[in-house]
């Protein structure tokens, strides 16, 4: 288990109107996981369980080798957490926050904090209540990055940021990734952000993890096959086909296990393969969610 920064095993949490069910999640040390799901999918609940802020009803969670929630204080010494709904004290300055965090974490890197102040164009003497949303996000990020945590947990950190601020925040995260010992869990609805920085992808929907793996394999496996299907030709039922639609003679088939044999099988059946398109992470995410929801409805 030493190679895993985060390990969820059969984790569940029951609320009156939402259930997080049987979550298995493994985040190897040094990897960057994009955690993608629609609103209400369970991303924040999963992250709160990871942080020990919410206690799971069942299952085991280990973070940096510590059992959660029992050993949350130990785990949080090496963990940086930023969330869309985490706020700093409005009445205090950023300098006060920096001094406060420095007094808690011996690993605080004052020189790095200073360089982040400049890169993020922040003034330490400014009160938090006078900062814009983007500046607040950057201030929160500065406070966690400058203490050099082993694990960064970012719950929708780019939500609500303007394109420039988003670019700066993502740029700094990319710089952080240069340290190969650093592990990041990055939750977002914005698949473009996730695609940019992650090497592992996990999709969650309606309280369940629906797919998880490394990004390259996702992008390799998922394909959209555009076909022309003459009248009378029936497409064979093949493994790995997760969706299909047609309009007249034209059909589009989506697969999560693409193999050239699939295109060959369609051609053998009498269809003409016009194109085999790669898919963006967003398209894969939507197809994945739809496939699962259709499966549940059927």
């Amino acid at each position: 288990m030493t190679g895993l920064a985060v390990h969820f095993e059969g984790v569940g949490k029951q609320y009156p109107h939402f259930t997080l069910d049987d979550i298995h999640l493994e985040l190897p040390t040094g990897s960057i996981m994009g955690f993608i799901g629609p609103n209400g999918a369970g991303k924040s609940t999963t992250i709160r369980i990871l942080m020990g802020l919410v206690h799971q009803d069942r299952g085991a969670v280990r973070v940096l080798g510590h059992a959660m929630p029992a050993q949350q204080a130990e785990a949080k010494r090496e963990l940086g957490f930023a969330s869309e709904d985490l706020r700093l004290y409005g009445a205090a300055t950023l300098a006060w926050h920096m001094a406060f965090i420095r007094s808690i974490y011996p690993s605080w890197d004052a020189a790095y904090a200073e360089s982040l102040l400049q890169r993020f164009d922040l003034k330490a003497s400014q009160k938090i209540k006078g900062l814009s949303h983007g500046q607040r996000v950057k201030a929160a990020l500065l406070l966690i990055l400058a203490r050099r945590p082993r694990l960064l947990v970012l719950d929708e950190p780019t939500t609500g940021l303007d394109p420039v601020a988003r670019h700066e925040v993502l740029g700094e995260l990319m710089a952080v990734l240069a340290d190969e010992r650093r592990t990041i869990l990055f939750s977002s609805q914005n698949t473009l952000d996730v695609e940019q920085i992650s090497d592992q992808i996990t999709f969650i929907d309606r309280g369940r993890i629906i797919d998880s793996g490394d990004k390259e394999s996702f992008l390799e496996r998922w394909r959209r096959v555009r076909l022309e299907v003459p009248p009378g030709v029936v497409l064979p039922s093949l493994p790995g086909i997760v969706g299909s639609s047609s309009s007249g003679r034209l059909a589009v088939v989506t697969t999560d296990r693409y193999d050239p044999a699939i295109a060959a099988a369609f051609q053998d059946a009498g269809a003409t393969v016009h194109a085999v398109d790669t898919m963006t992470l967003e398209e894969i995410f939507i197809a994945n969610v739809r496939n699962r929801r259709d499966g549940l409805a059927a």
């Binding site: 802020l53 919410v54 940086g80 706020r87 406060f100 007094s103």
Partner: protein, 224 residues
């Protein structure tokens, strides 16, 4: 228990409350001054101001350090620090009680000393004053307990209404206890068994409220 972390959180709450506490101390000093003037009008005005200051500080602290921390979403920031839920609860209870005790002790001791030192004011008021002012401390601890356990503005306001109504009834009840009423105007303090019993009961109530807060907090599974 990480005492260093608990201490930092207490100092953090003190940092945000320090000016307000100084304000309460100034208002309390004015109240004690008025009480000590000896005239009936100034004694009445001073007493009202004194009770108001102590009741207000007891409301102010849980509202700003507990309820606002949740409302303004700074609780997530605090809970992301290397602390356990138990350490958070310990820090919040200690911060609130210690910060509250600064104006409470100063104002209570100040007013009781003034009563004891001024010939125009009967020393018999001292036991009544001690019992009444300690009851305000019980009410403040009730608010803190409800605020911490419920984290709800509505429940805390409900507890505030209850505590204030209870205080009015308590004032009436205590001032009509024969052994206290009979000695209220005596030149020296008379510590009747009723007054001592009430004081001990109040201290017991404070311990019970804070103990129950720890108990309920330890059973909590969601902190945000």
């Amino acid at each position: 228990m990480n005492y260093a972390m608990v201490k930092r959180l207490i100092l953090k709450d003190w940092y945000f409350q320090r000016w307000a506490i100084l304000g309460y101390l100034a208002a309390g000093a004015l109240a004690v001054f008025l009480v000590g003037q000896g005239g009936e009008g100034s004694f009445y005005a001073g007493s009202i101001l004194l009770l108001t200051v102590l009741i207000t500080v007891g409301i102010h602290l849980p509202m700003t350090t507990v309820i606002n921390e949740r409302k303004e979403q700074t609780l997530a920031f605090v809970m992301s620090l290397p602390i356990s839920a138990k350490e958070y609860t310990t820090a919040k209870i200690l911060a609130n009680v210690l910060i509250l005790l600064i104006p409470w002790t100063a104002i209570t001791l100040g007013s009781l000393t003034v009563i004891a030192g001024r010939a125009a004011l009967p020393g018999g008021l001292i036991p009544l004053g001690a019992v009444v002012l300690t009851e305000i401390l019980v009410g403040s601890c009730l608010l803190l307990a409800v605020a911490l356990v419920s984290e709800s503005l509505g429940w805390t306001i409900g507890a505030m209404v209850f505590a204030n109504l209870f205080f009015q009834g308590f004032l009436y009840y205590v001032s009509h206890i024969p052994s206290i009423a009979a000695t209220m105007k005596s030149p020296t303090a008379v510590w009747s068994s009723a007054a001592v019993t009430l004081l001990l009961a109040e201290i017991g109530a404070i311990a019970l409220l804070l103990g129950l807060t720890f108990f309920f907090q330890s059973r909590k599974t969601d902190f945000i």
